[in-house]
Symmetry: C2
């Protein structure tokens, strides 16, 4: 990921192009996405304005509108940039598992589903910002978040639900579907960096080591997903 | 929970008091809290302004400031109103369990920890709004959310961690603490009403029945929390 360029250099570039010339600077385009990603991650969709993004990227709001159309479309561009890559990675890992096993194990499926998130989080400040946007997506305005989430993630997630069901012949489809929700809730909370463990254990434990978080979480999710069917429902 | 009164009647009351007289209308105080709760739940802390709350409650911003001081203090008042009650309920349920069992089971502990949330959610629109505020609290600005969360919830949650550890002599303290985080992530996601299950199961399943959600979740959490210790960490 290219670091965001200093505002003065972007301004200088735009000035050098002169008025009326096509604005097609890929660096500027990427820089706007990077800045928007960081701000959306920190302040949420509602708390972030195009003016803040423009100021922080040292470009005009008109330029952002020229490239992206609106705040909603910019948010979509930010989310899809890494989200589609993440979904593709989930598909690829599942393809690998299905190619080498008739029925991949629950542990292998859980690991394949959540690992791309942790890899992204470890990849640098941009990946971390994206992961935070994703972790708070279900608290963003429905009209912005829900379609986006569906478009980016549903196809891969449905394939994992199917594979989990195949791995758990003794568990009802209802339980399998609910347990996928519980898994999503667990990993979204853990990737949102909540500092809660540190507080609640009086500093004895923390989530600084992402590999440790992943291992402990996979073990927990395996136990929960493989539990006997829920009685009485 | 008293429904929010219509703005005109509140305005009429204030006018009837006349200028300069002490404003101590408990109904107005509660109405402001109710309106703020609804707006914070829908729009988040950043997305909600005192002006919006004043307009929606049909009072002046000055009156809100008179009662609560600032948006941050109002948010705190909203959160503590039901949050402290919820924490007290958790304490009481744990006291009951400890009085009747030497070592309460993991299932009983999980159920006692999450049930007050679901009861609150079912209690009406106010309880539901509060639960949504709580579910998104870890995505609110740290300076607003973190101390509040600590003050309201830490004491009871630490008691549950201790009791879970006692119930799981074969599981390390680290796993027990991490698993409490996983449980919190799971139930926060499930109480935030995400409509995700409906989408991902193409309408075959949904979370409309809160008792069903609770039963399936308790079964999952029991399986995850009772899993053998995480290998290799």
């Amino acid at each position: 990921m290219k670091p965001v360029q200093r505002g003065t250099s972007l301004r200088a570039k735009q000035a050098a192009r002169g008025p009326g010339r096509p604005l097609q600077d890929l660096n500027t385009h990427a820089a706007i996405l990077d800045v928007a990603e960081r701000l959306f991650a920190r302040l949420g969709y509602v708390g972030t304005s195009l003016r803040m993004i423009a100021d922080s990227a040292a470009v005009t709001q008109a330029l952002i509108t020229y490239y992206f159309g609106s705040k909603e479309r910019l948010f979509e561009a930010v989310f899809k940039r890494r989200g589609l890559e993440l979904a593709a990675r989930r598909h690829a890992l599942l393809d690998e598992l299905l190619a080498s096993h008739d029925r991949p194990s629950v542990e292998a499926l859980v690991r394949a589903y959540v690992t791309p998130q942790f890899d992204l989080k470890k990849s640098g400040p941009g990946g971390l910002a994206f992961v935070r946007i994703q972790a708070r997506l279900h608290n963003e305005p429905e009209e912005v978040a829900f379609r986006l989430r569906r478009d980016v993630y549903d196809e891969a997630t449905k394939r994992y639900i199917k594979a989990l069901g195949d791995a758990l012949p003794g568990v009802s489809a209802a339980d399998v579907n609910f347990r996928m929700m519980f898994m999503i809730g667990t990993y979204l909370y853990m990737i949102s960096d909540v500092s809660r463990l540190d507080e609640l254990s009086d500093g004895a434990f923390n989530t600084a080591n992402q590999d440790e978080v992943l291992e402990r979480m996979v073990q927990f999710l395996k136990g929960g997903i493989c539990a006997p069917g829920t009685p009485g429902v």
